[in-house]
Structures are given as C-alpha cells and as structure tokens.
Amino acid sequence: MTELVRVSNLRKDFGKITAVKSISFKINAGEIYGFLGPNGAGKTTTMRMITGVLVPTAGKVEICDLDLEKYPIKVKSQIGVVPDEPKLYENLTGQEFLEFIGSVFSMDKSEMTRMISELCDAFEINFLGKFIGDYSHGMKQKLVLTSVLMRKPKVIFLDEATVGLDAKSAKILKMLLRKYADEGSAIFMTTHVLEIAEKMCDRIGIINAGEIVAEGTLTELRSESGKQSLEDIFLKLTDSNEEDVKEIVDNL
C-alpha cells in the first residue's frame, strides 16, 4: 500500500509550552484518516505543521515521498488544504479567486472550467460573481472546497470542513471525499462530529494534550478500549467518561 503521508516524531513548542509532543502516523493512498481530539489538544497545530504552514520544532513530514522541509513547493503542489475558518481575499470575487488558485497551481484551463462547473452544480454555487467579503461562512467554505477539489490533489487536509455547510452540501462533500479516496487520494480530516468520523474514516487517531493516545480502525479502537461507540471511546481516551459529563451537567 502506498504511504502518501508519513509523519515522524513531530513536535511543536511555543516558548515553554509544548503543544504537540512527538507524534507519528501514516496515511495510505485510498484512506480517510480522522484526527480527533478535544479543544486545544493540538489538532490544528499538527495540521498546520504537516501542511507546511508552521515550522515544527522537531520531527519530519513526508508527503508523496517528498520531505516537506526540503521540498515545500513540490509538496504543496500535491496537497489541498481546507481550513476550519476560511479567511480569503474579501475584495476578490469568487471567480477571480478560483482563477488565482488555478493559475498558481498551473491548472489546465479546460479542465479547471469543467471541474468548477461540476462542483458549482454539486454545491449549488451561484455566487461566484460576488465579492468574497459578502459571503457567509458556508459560502466561503464552499468556495474553498471548490478551489481544492477542482485540482483533485493527491492528499487533502480538511479541518472541520463540514462546519457551516448545509445538510445536502455536507452529504455531497462526504461522498466526494470517499470517491477521491477510492480514486487513490489520501484524506486527513479533523472533526468534532464523531458520527462523521465513525461513518467516513478508515482509520482514526485520537490526540490528547499533544500526544496521540490511540490509533487504528474503529474495530481496533473498540477492542482496545472495550467500548462500543466512538463517543465512549473518545471520552475514555481523553480522560472523561459518561459519569463525569453527567455530573457536570447535573451541577449546572
């Protein structure tokens, strides 16, 4: 099986605080990897490091057999990143933004036009002529998704990608990701919606306080933890349990 993402002993310190403590994982071609963890666990920091946005304090990231530190531009041309909060150029129209992305990634014009047309139909995008500053969160999210999916990158990183999307668009996205994975892409996604992770992900990594505390398929996680639902597994591994949560709610 082709390993498209290899992360080895990745660490990030912010001054005296260690946000991510030496984590390692791999993602194969055709695999959707769910990266779960409570708020502040280090999910976004990890994603920023493996997408070349943040320089790690230590460790190594290889994507498509290329060392990210040595070949950042080659690596970035192979990946697509959907952040949790899409911050875009507000004074560009959606169309201008897509043209910009297509140009930066040196896309074929006819292929880009075809993909944009298909994705616009799928996500019901009819606002590309408007300025991005006038978009809602969901509209921005759809635009970013289009800008990534139109390129069919080998590796796609998504941080809470379904947040802000309507039910139909979220469903289409999930199906599209599965389709892209089946065609050979590797998908890395973070989410707080455990149901999505449970249904979509082939393997799941759970990070807590900067460390991966569990990793494997859902079946493996179930047998290791002795719990059935992903929610129970997650709560157990992140130092919480059903009783603690109930007590907190009762005390409120």
């Binding site: 070349g52 970035k76 875009l88 074929d108 880009m112 606002f127």
Partner: protein, 533 residues
C-alpha cells in the same frame, strides 16, 4: 457602570489586549499619552508663537466690525468643521454599521442608541486628533486679544460644545448614508470626501501663505471672503460670538450642540438596525462567467494584488496624493501663474516624488496587511516565500511610477519641458522599490495594535516610514536636480556638488537597499503573529 461605559471599557480592553496577544509587550497608557503629548507639544508650541505674532499684527485690521484675527479663528473653525465632517462621517458610518463586532453587539440587550453612541465616540477618539491642533491657535488668539483667564477657560468649554455640534452632524449624516449607501459606496465616498479636504487644505494654505505679503495685500485678499467666512448661519461664526461673550453666540453653540446630539441619539435608537441591514446586505453584482484565465503563478499574484489595490480605498487614497497635489498646486496658482518656469518644472516633480516616496511604505504595508489577514492560506500555496513580497513591491512601485508619468505628461503637455520629470521618475524607481520592501518589513516589525488595512503601522512604524520616505525623496530629487539642472547647485564647487548631490545620494540608496534586505532576511513575513498560537 452604565452600558455606554461598559462598551467603551470593553473596547479599550480589546485594544490594549491585542499587542499582548501578538506576544508584544504593550506600552503602558501613560507612555502613549507621553508620546502623543510630545508630538502635540512639538507642533503646538511653535504654532502658538507663530500665530500669537500673526494675531497681534492683524487684530488691528478690521472689516465691518470683524478683525482679521477673528477671521482666522473662524477659518480655523471652518477647517475643523470640514475635516471632521468629510473624514469622520464615512468613518463613523463604516465603524458603526460595518465593524466586526456590531453584529454581536446588536444581539445583546443594549439599546441601539447606546451602541451608536459608543461607536461614534470610538471613531471620534481616533479621528478627532487633528481637532487638538486648533488649541494653540485659540490660545494665541486669547493672548493677542488679552483675554482674562476665565474667558480662556470659557473659550475652551465652547470649543467642546463646538466639537459636539460637529460630532452630532457627522453622526446624523452617517445615519443618513447608511440608509442608501452600500459598503463599497461609502468607501468610495471616503475617497471623494478626502479629495474635497485636500482641495480645501490647499486653498487654506494659499490663503495663509498670503500672510507673508504686506497688510494692504492681506486686506485686499480677505475683503472678498469676509461675508462668506462670517456668515451668520455658520457654527464658526457662532463660536466667535460665543468666545466674545455674546449671548446669541453662546446660546447657539450650546443649544445646537445639545439639540443635535439629542436628535442624533433619538434617530440612532431607531435607525441603526435598518442602516446595518442595508450596509451589510450582499452586493448585487452577480455575473458568473464561464471563461477562466490561467496565468503564470507570478503574474497571477501581480494580477490579484492589482485588483486588491484597486478595490481598497485607503490605498487608492495614498495613490491619489502624488497625482492630485501637483494639479491642485497648478490649479490654485501656487506654481502655475506666479512661479517661474524653472521653479514649476522643478517643484512639481519634487512634490510628486516626495509624496510618492512618503506613501510607498504605508501603501505596501496596507497591501501586505491584506495578505496577513488571510492567515495561513498563502503558506499552503506552492510558491516561493518571496513571490507575494516581490509582487506587492512591484505593484505599488509601478502604481506610483505610472501615476507620476501620467501627471508629468499632462503637465508637460500644458507647460512644455519634460526632461527633469522623466529623469526624476527614473531615479525614483529604485528608491520606491526599496521603500516598498521596507514597507513589508515595517508591517511585520511595527504593526498597528488595533490591526487592519487602513492603518497598518503603529506610531513608531508610521514615523519611521515617514523618515524613510523623506530620505528616499531627497535621494531621487537630488539626483534628478544634479543630472538635469546643475545650475541650481552653482552655490557649491563642481566637485563638491558631484559628491554631495550625486555620489552621496547613490551611496545612501545602496546602504538603504542593503539594510532593508538584511532586515527582511531576518524576519519571516508570512508568520508575523506566530506567538498567537
């Protein structure tokens, strides 16, 4: 604490927290006050002595019961009126209806009028600084007319009421604008009004410039304007009457201030929500093309930056200065009729290069701020780290150079003689390019603690950028003058002239370039706020 106080306190806390969030040690409030006080004193004290002398000389010249000194007070008041109305009004409109937190504030159980008042006060605190510079003028006037101490205190109380009138009018116009204007419309309105201020300032400068001529000329010049300046419906006239302890003036200033503020408060209590809905509504421009253009990555960046520059009013405003100023100078006759051909040929490019140089750093900083605002996005693109940087420096430098070429071409067509302007443009290109790169460094080194594109640099950054701008302008202008019109430098020995006016500027230019690129290499411009995480 009442709700208004709470809102203002929350805003102050937010401002003071931003530098801390970015990992910088925020300066204590008293340091800011000390810096502002020093700037004010540096300008205010000499201004006081200058105006004290002027007021003494001209308080004896009287037109129909109004002395020339009185007229200058009224002109100053009209100046502040124009400045506040045309610059702060759109700022209030944008700050009230378009700021990031207004959505949140409207969801709280706080009255709309309280939100509006808090937002207006915020804007006035930021935009009302120029109003302080009338204080030395008023103090000089008080000294010239031998005002007793209690009258001086009363005069400043009246000034507060006068500012209240301006604030209320500004707020009412902003409420009106919000009913029919879109966000982009308001931004365009800001550029338009800024131009009006610009023209007004030039005319005012031209009038004040006449102070250098003899009393008879001043009398002749002002006799035409007395009735206009001293019109009974102008708040500036009421103010003059008030500080002369005339009851009608006092009542008009206080009464109008209070009544207009009350009206603005009442209108705001019903108007902010509808104005907010109007201004935040989506643009109607929905043309979805099916044809896409693919460019080379570098060209794509340049194209994108040109679009962002064109659509950001604050940058356009900076580009307008060097374009408009020479035309206005010619228009009001400062260089066109009175000045000799040589002084015109030299002065126009000198002024234009000076302004281009002054604003290159800030304009680049604004463009870089836009890139910083989109956060990690640019880092995920398969491009070199320097590509966006070069693109911005190229776009801003090109914009200023094109503007200068167009303006010089127009003026050359009118007056003839284009050699000096062309040489100046050529010499200014490397200077502007260096300043653009310095702008990138300045954005990272001295970002404005309240963030944003309109004011990308903090006080230190602004002062340093102005200093660099002056240095850059001096280099380009000296080189141009040396090469084209050596006769102007005949007061020095030829060899010394060559060293001082050509070799030295070139050396300084090279040093500037080396220092700028060294500084840039030390910072990662894509991660200015890494400590946020």
């Amino acid at each position: 604490m009442n709700q208004l106080g709470l809102l203002l306190k929350y805003k102050l806390t937010m401002w003071s927290n931003i530098p801390k969030r970015r990992g910088r040690r925020g300066m204590p409030l008293f340091v800011y006050i000390l810096i502002l006080g020093s700037v004010f004193a540096l300008i205010g004290v000499p201004a006081y002595f200058l105006f004290a002398e002027i007021f003494k000389n001209y308080s004896t010249i009287v037109f129909g019961g109004v002395s020339l000194a009185d007229l200058f007070v009224e002109i100053s008041m009209i100046g502040i009126l124009v400045l506040v109305l045309v610059t702060d009004t759109p700022a209030v409109a944008l700050n009230v209806f378009m700021s990031d937190d207004v959505d949140f504030l409207l969801s709280l159980p706080i009255s709309q009028s309280t939100i509006f008042t808090a937002k207006t006060i915020e804007t006035m605190i930021q935009g009302g600084f120029p109003a302080l510079f009338v204080i030395p003028v008023l103090a000089a006037y008080a000294n010239a007319v031998n005002m007793p101490w209690y009258a001086i205190i009363f005069m400043f109380v009246m000034y507060i009421f006068y500012f209240l009138i301006l604030t209320a009018i500004s707020a009412l116009i902003a409420l009106g604008i919000s009913k029919f204007a879109s966000r982009s419309g308001t931004q365009r309105f800001m550029i338009f009004t800024s131009l009006i201020v610009y023209v007004f300032v030039i005319i005012l400068m031209s009038m004040v410039g006449s102070l250098n001529s003899n009393a008879a000329n001043v009398e002749a010049a002002f006799s035409n304007y007395v009735n206009t300046i001293n019109a009974p419906y102008l708040p500036s006239t009421w103010f003059l009457e008030a500080i002369k302890m005339q009851w009608n003036g006092i009542l008009l200033v206080i009464g109008t201030g209070v009544v207009l503020s009350a009206i603005a408060y009442l209108v705001a209590s019903n108007g902010i929500l509808t104005g907010f809905s109007k201004m935040t509504s989506a643009s109607k421009h929905v043309i979805q093309k099916r044809n896409y253009r693919i460019r080379r990555p570098v060209i794509a960046f340049i194209s994108k930056d040109v679009k962002l520059m064109r659509r950001e009013p604050s940058i356009l405003f900076l580009l307008v200065y060097p374009a408009i100023f020479p035309l206005i100078l010619v228009g009001v006759g400062a260089l066109g009729k009175g000045g000799s051909a040589t002084s015109r040929d030299i002065m126009i490019p000198v002024v234009s290069v000076f302004l281009s140089s002054m604003y290159t750093v800030i304009a680049t900083a604004s463009l870089v701020s836009m890139e910083i605002k989109v956060g990690d996005f640019v880092n995920t693109l398969p491009i070199g780290k320097r590509t966006p940087l070069w693109s911005k420096a190229f776009v801003i430098t090109s914009a200023f150079v094109i503007i200068m070429i167009v303006i010089f071409s127009i003026l050359s067509a009118i007056f003839g003689g284009a050699l000096f302007p062309i040489v100046t443009v050529l010499f200014s290109i490397p200077v502007l390019l260096i300043l653009s790169f310095f702008g990138v460094y300045a954005t990272i080194k001295w970002p404005n603690s309240i963030g944003g594109i309109r004011r990308p640099l903090n006080t230190t950054g602004t002062l340093v950028s102005m200093g660099m701008g002056v240095l850059g302008a001096a280099i380009a202008d000296l080189e141009g003058i040396y090469v084209v019109d050596n006769k102007l430098l005949s007061f020095v020995q030829p060899f010394l002239g060559f060293l001082l006016f050509f070799v030295a500027p070139v050396v300084v230019e090279i040093v500037m370039a080396i220092v700028t690129f060294k500084l840039l290499s030390k910072i990662d411009w894509t991660k200015p706020y890494d400590l946020e995480n």
